[in-house]
């Protein structure tokens, strides 16, 4: 059970973002910019960063949601499974391998990012902005994972929920739906 009263029909992060909307606003806008804004990384690649960090933090809600979003954007489900097991053998390019290694280091501690892992990313063609965004996305998901689990939000009752959520993350992104979320009430 959540540690604070949250709306029953809104599992995971959504209930929290609706609980306090003034703090939700900059979090939503930052996420929209980082994961959907102009970037030389594809939306699918940026969702892989969200996925590997949430997986490292063992946050079930965020891992499932961002895995589903990445799968939809990539059009296949193998890459998300592969990066969780072993980045080096995953079917991604050298630059993404290097960036995911940095993301995993950030997940543990900012201090764990080594000069060598940054050099590897730069040698593989990563720009300063790509390295910046990788670190900030990884840091942002350390916020999300702790917010979602620290208040003990509930998981959805059905796996269908994640399908619908991923669809929403792909088509609408991370900004609040203009009509709110009352349509998710099952009555």
């Amino acid at each position: 059970m959540p540690h604070i009263p949250l709306e029953d029909h809104l599992p995971g992060i959504t209930g929290l973002l609706e609980y306090r909307k003034d703090s939700a606003q900059p979090i939503r806008e930052l996420t929209q910019l980082l994961l959907r804004g102009p970037s030389t990384l594809t939306e699918g690649e940026r969702e892989l960063i969200a996925t590997i960090v949430s997986h490292g933090n063992e946050c079930k809600f965020c891992t499932t949601a961002h895995t589903a979003a990445a799968d939809k954007l990539l059009g296949e489900c193998e890459t998300t499974q592969a990066i969780k097991k072993d980045i080096e053998s995953a079917p991604i390019n050298e630059k993404m391998k290097a960036l995911l290694v940095i993301a995993k280091q950030v997940q543990q501690s900012g201090k764990n990012v080594t000069a060598a892992s940054v050099v590897r990313a730069k040698d593989a063609g990563a720009t300063d902005i790509e390295i910046h965004d990788t670190v900030l996305i990884a840091a942002l998901f350390c916020l999300y994972n702790r917010y979602v689990d620290g208040l003990s939000t509930r998981l959805p009752n059905t796996s269908d929920y994640f399908n619908t959520l991923a669809e929403r993350l792909v088509t609408n992104g991370y900004t609040r739906l203009p009509q709110g979320y009352d349509h998710l009430k099952k009555n």
Binding site: H3, I4, P5, L16, Y19, R20, D22, S23, Q25, P26, I27, E29, L30, L33, L34, G37, N57, E58, C59, I102, Q105, V106, S109, G110, K111, V113, A115, V118, D128, I129, I131, H132, D133, V135, L136, A138, A139, L140, C142, L143, Y144, N145, R146, Y147, V148, D149, G150, L151, S152
Partner: protein, 187 residues
């Protein structure tokens, strides 16, 4: 040296938000909402949570700048800040704040560590839903800020004196996005 090309001589997060003001804008808005806007916790108490989490993450820049802000805001009770950093018991800390700092310390490690008992202890000493929510979200947000600042190896001044003007500025002006200009930037 920072992992990416930021303006020389500008410390910590200020150098990063000058590098990418688009994301910086939302980060500063989030800090302002969480640490200064309406909350049942005082600005001083919220800076103390930020200080505690940053100290536990060994993020010297964030710890020193938020400790400096907290000292300004606590005024004559400023010694509470160093007690929290050094993990020393102090009568200056209410039982409610002790319980909330315990929750924040767990969120710093993992959201999953927060137990029903931790929440019950905080409630026993008068914490309400919003105290608990804000504590968890501030702790989660500093898990992000600390990783951002250290993950990109931003400049960390080592002289404690350098943080005093930052603390004064944060206490009086709050979180104002630094402007793109050549200055001897202070936080």
């Amino acid at each position: 040296m920072a992992h990416i090309k930021v303006e020389e001589g500008v410390p910590g997060i200020r150098s990063l938000v000058l590098f990418r003001p688009e994301t910086g804008k939302h980060l500063y808005e989030l800090a302002q909402v969480l640490l200064r806007d309406a909350s049942p916790l005082t600005a001083a108490e919220r800076e103390l949570i930020a200080t505690h989490v940053s100290a536990r993450n060994h993020c010297i820049f964030c710890m020193s700048s938020h400790a400096a802000a907290a000292r300004e805001l606590f005024e004559e009770k400023r010694e509470v800040v160093d007690c929290v950093i050094e993990n020393k018991d102090t009568a200056l800390l209410s039982d409610k704040m002790k319980a909330l700092l315990t929750i924040a310390g767990k969120v710093q490690q993992s959201g999953k560590l927060v137990t029903d008992e931790d929440i019950a202890e905080a409630r026993k000493h008068g914490a309400e839903d919003r105290d608990i929510h804000d504590t968890v979200l501030i702790a989660a947000a500093f898990s992000m800020f600390n990783r951002y600042v250290d993950g990109l190896a931003s400049l960390t001044p080592t002289d404690p004196k350098e943080y005093e003007p930052m603390g004064k500025r944060l206490a009086t002006l709050g979180y104002v996005l630094p402007q793109q200009q050549k200055t001897n930037g202070t936080h």
